[in-house]
Symmetry: C2
Amino acid sequence: MEFTTREKLAWTAAKLFQEKGYHGAGLAEILKATGLPKGSLYHHFPNGKSDLALEAAALAHRETTRIIDDAFRDASSYRDGATTLFYKLAKLFDVMGKHTGCPISNILFAGPDHDAFRQKSAEYFQAWMNQIADHAEKLGEPRASAETEAQRLFLVLQGGWTLARATENSDAIRSLPALFLFKNED
Amino acid sequence: MEFTTREKLAWTAAKLFQEKGYHGAGLAEILKATGLPKGSLYHHFPNGKSDLALEAAALAHRETTRIIDDAFRDASSYRDGATTLFYKLAKLFDVMGKHTGCPISNILFAGPDHDAFRQKSAEYFQAWMNQIADHAEKLGEPRASAETEAQRLFLVLQGGWTLARATENSDAIRSLPALFLFKNED
DNA sequence: CTCCAATTAGACCGAATGGTCTAGCGGACC
DNA sequence: GGTCCGCTAGACCATTCGGTCTAATTGGAG
């Protein structure tokens, strides 16, 4: 994997912020994990920690967007795609070490600039739901129903991830399809 | 409201931890909000911040337990009780200032003693789900279905609360009954 | 090779952090 | 009224925090 210095910083920060939250992860810790000196950080992110957090959140957002598209690309139905997505995310949770939370809320809810950060989180969440709704529509759901389903999926995923984190067990995420995808009309 | 010094500390800490997370809220800030000196804190909580956080989480847990019981006490059906619960929590979210997260995850996920804190969170979450399942059973649901419904309610609530926080709007919580309580079998 | 901008390197800083410690207040009890 | 003890009060401490600054290094262009 070829990472530029800037990318290395953002990825490492994203991982640590997701585990410990914005205030829980210190610059020294992030720098030590990358092996880079402080000068590099402030060269690439002139505003320091808050810039880094914003970039880390943007990175996590793009990555998640990619995972969603992957899950739905070859899906034959909305249910199929959603189930694939849950399984992909459960696997991601395991790979990340079972201690990570939702990147967006962990990075952006507790940060400084309370309002700017919070606004970004709402924007990212909405983007995910729109993206999922688009896939649902493409797979045959009427638009209104597609949007409802997308919101349901998002809500449930947040809850499942939280429970997985508390129990250190990704089964909480894997059980979501059974709980939410196969009890409803059509 | 008659508060002992210890209670005042725990309540204030709970509120600030919920808004800013364990590391986001400093002792100085908590102390300033209560008007108490540092000596009082370390008299009542010899282990300092981590003790205080544990007590704050326990407090939030008991309070939530009380709200759940209240919501289901006079309910004529599970749906009825669950709907009341969502509305009560939406109101709580508004009263708390629209910036609070789930007390348990905000206090316990990011704290020190990683494992002890995490274990407590799993314990509290499970207690809530058991409590809701008991209410569901009492209201006529078969045990297995009651447990499933309780888990569904918990997951959805976590997600709804997160979305409410991002949008600063409790409607995300108020819309949960429509999204999850009225589309299923029976 | 020379030069120059981009980047790395890390010493250094003031402020804030969680935590310790001693002094003293004030009510209960004899 | 004196003494004792639970609690309040806040000065003080070492450490860590995010952030700044200057010097060394690197790599490409001429």
